[in-house]
């Protein structure tokens, strides 16, 4: 049986919580198609590398800013992030891209890795329960379609 992990990455700030919300929705969905580990992370940085172990397939869900319409669902593979270069490398800012590039350099990637990025537009740093309706519907669409990836 395949070991599958779905990891929701986020922070407490507004729409940047969407990764956590996705996991929450998956847990509540009671779908028979979801037979995997559901994990949430708060700004994991390098700690993400530990989570990539011991899995055949890993799906990451995170908020992105890619100048696309709010709610756009991007699907990336490691090849899409390999060549990306962030402006600065600090351990406070060790983001998803740097962590995955390091995992790749260490040959520590799972056999299948997909990154789903949902466009949030500008970052709303309010700590509240509000989530943009376009993001809400993108999340619903994503969690419905994820089982088709397995």
């Amino acid at each position: 049986m395949k070991e599958i992990k779905i990891i929701g990455i986020g922070s407490p700030f507004g729409d940047d919580r969407l990764g956590w919300l996705a996991i929450d929705m998956l847990k509540k969905s009671n779908s028979k198609d979801i037979f995997c580990d559901l994990i949430v992370c708060d700004r994991p940085g390098m700690k993400l590398l530990e989570l990539l172990h011991d899995a055949d397939e890993v799906y990451l869900i995170d908020a992105v800013q890619a100048d696309s319409p709010v709610g756009t669902i991007h699907r990336f593979t490691i090849d899409d992030v390999s060549s990306s270069r962030s402006l600065q490398m600090s351990s406070h800012g060790f983001g998803l891209v740097e962590a995955l590039q390091l995992a790749q350099a260490l040959e520590n990637l799972p056999p299948k890795l997909i990154i789903f990025g949902i466009e949030i537009g500008s970052i709303n740093f309010g700590i509240n329960d509000f989530i943009h309706p376009l993001i809400q519907s993108a999340l619903q669409k994503l969690i419905t379609n994820i089982p088709k990836e397995f």
Partner: protein, 439 residues
């Protein structure tokens, strides 16, 4: 007459954000400014009006890399107002808790931030392709540090286990038992790391700078949470001499000063810039390290004290070894306590806490009212204390390096020099006095 201006807009591989402006005229440094432009944190003001039992959760959020340090300095300061005497279990476990943070922070700095410099790589990602085992060892050590913190803090990011009076709950003996084999592997990793660092091609300094260095000092142990502030200065015969300052007299000797170009305050010891951090600690406290570590350092031809800032990476590796050794020896004899926290008397007063964060001395002062509400807070982080020293170091070291070097070489040298201090810029910008002139 030639003048060149070099601007490094964002210094890579330090915590937070910073920039450096350098003006060179006729091969002499005319002006040098290290600018911190991360949004200032107003923690000293946030804490006013808060209850004492909220302080540790607030201050843990000042820094994602050293939350334990902030919690410990705050706990000790508040407990000194409330007549609290820690049990030996609490005292001992707080040292272990803190060791987790040293291991995690130092490993992260050595492997992700500093080592790429010394091996000639632009980042750890390129370094990992050629030296995967080195980077994996660093990540293993970082994970070990996080595991120790999680044992006591229940999670490693913004840990929640520590409180005024001790810990909310004691780790289960089975959790401690699970940690022991990781600590044993960690000891091997720490020894091989120290040997590797000792053999790095570090820049040689022809003439050491003369500056005081400052750390805690304790009569019987390598200091983490307790002790007096020890200042080492070279006297006129170039002999090291140490003067000791009780922590409540810190402000009689050290003063913070705002500079116009930076959000972070500069700190001076009687108008001199000074060094805090692992190199200062190892310099002052080397004799209190366990014998096996001292002997190993001697076998590797390492000698302290040193004022060569490039030896900071060695000091960090020494401290990783110490922290794992110490945690292992304490936890091998772990016993589950009757109580993980004790009572204290909430009352009005002023208290001081001074502990050794991974980056150096972290000094807290609080005043409380009779309900334990915070009337005022003063937090002096290690990176502020090092700011003036970093600027003085840059002025001196760049002149020694050669100002006729190319702009790219000077830029890289500046970044390496700054990274020696492992400045945690987000800690240092916690305070801003605002003056509004309404016309």
């Amino acid at each position: 007459m030639t003048k060149k201006t070099i601007n490094i807009p964002i210094i890579t591989r330090v915590e937070g954000e910073g920039a450096l402006d350098l003006t060179i005229r006729n091969n002499v440094i005319e002006d040098l400014k290290l600018k911190i432009y991360e949004p200032p944190r107003l923690f000293e003001n946030f804490l006013q009006g808060r209850s004492y039992n909220e302080v540790l959760d607030f201050v843990a959020r000042i820094c994602g890399i050293c939350p334990v340090a902030y919690q410990m300095s705050a706990a000790y300061a508040l407990e000194s107002i409330f007549n609290f005497q820690a049990s030996s279990w609490i005292r001992s476990m707080r040292r272990v808790f803190y060791c987790g943070e040293w291991i995690e922070s130092h490993s992260l700095h050595i492997h992700l931030l500093a080592a790429p410099d010394f091996l000639g790589y632009p980042s750890v990602i390129e370094m990992a392709k050629d030296h995967p085992e080195i980077v994996k060892r660093g990540l293993r050590l970082q994970a070990l540090g996080n595991d120790i913190i999680k044992c006591f803090g229940k999670r490693s990011v913004h840990p929640v286990g520590a409180c005024v009076g001790g810990f909310y709950s004691a780790p289960d003996p089975s959790d401690i038992a699970a940690l022991l084999p990781k600590l044993e592997t960690g000891l091997q990793d720490a020894r091989s790391l120290l040997a590797w660092v000792a053999n790095l091609d570090l820049p040689i300094i022809h003439k050491e700078q003369d500056f005081p260095y400052v750390s805690l000092q304790h009569p019987t142990e390598y200091p983490i949470n307790e002790g007096v502030v020890a200042v080492n200065t070279a006297n006129s015969n170039s002999q090291n001499q140490i003067s000791q300052i009780p922590i409540h007299e810190f402000l009689k000797h050290f003063a913070e000063k705002q500079v116009p170009y930076s959000n972070a305050l500069h700190c001076y010891l009687q108008n001199q810039s000074y060094l805090v951090g692992p190199l200062a600690r190892v310099n002052i406290n080397f004799s209190l390290l366990p014998e096996v570590i001292k002997q190993y350092a001697k076998d590797l031809n390492l000698s302290f004290p040193s004022r060569n800032m490039f030896h900071s990476i060695i000091a960090r590796a020494v401290e990783i070894y110490f922290a794992i050794f110490h945690a292992f020896s304490v936890l091998q004899n772990y016993t589950y306590p009757k109580q993980s926290k004790h009572d204290f008397t909430v009352q009005a007063g002023v208290g001081y806490g001074c502990t050794e964060a991974p980056r150096g001395l972290l000094w807290h002062r609080y005043e409380t009212d009779e309900n334990g509400t915070i009337v005022s807070a003063r937090l002096i982080p290690p990176t502020s204390q090092n700011q003036a020293r970093i600027e003085d170091d840059l002025r001196y070291s760049l002149s020694e390096f050669g100002l006729d070097s190319s702009e790219e070489q000077i830029k890289h040298r500046c970044e390496m020099l700054i990274r020696n201090y492992d400045p945690c810029i987000s800690c240092a910008t916690h305070f801003l006095k605002l003056k509004v002139d309404r016309k």
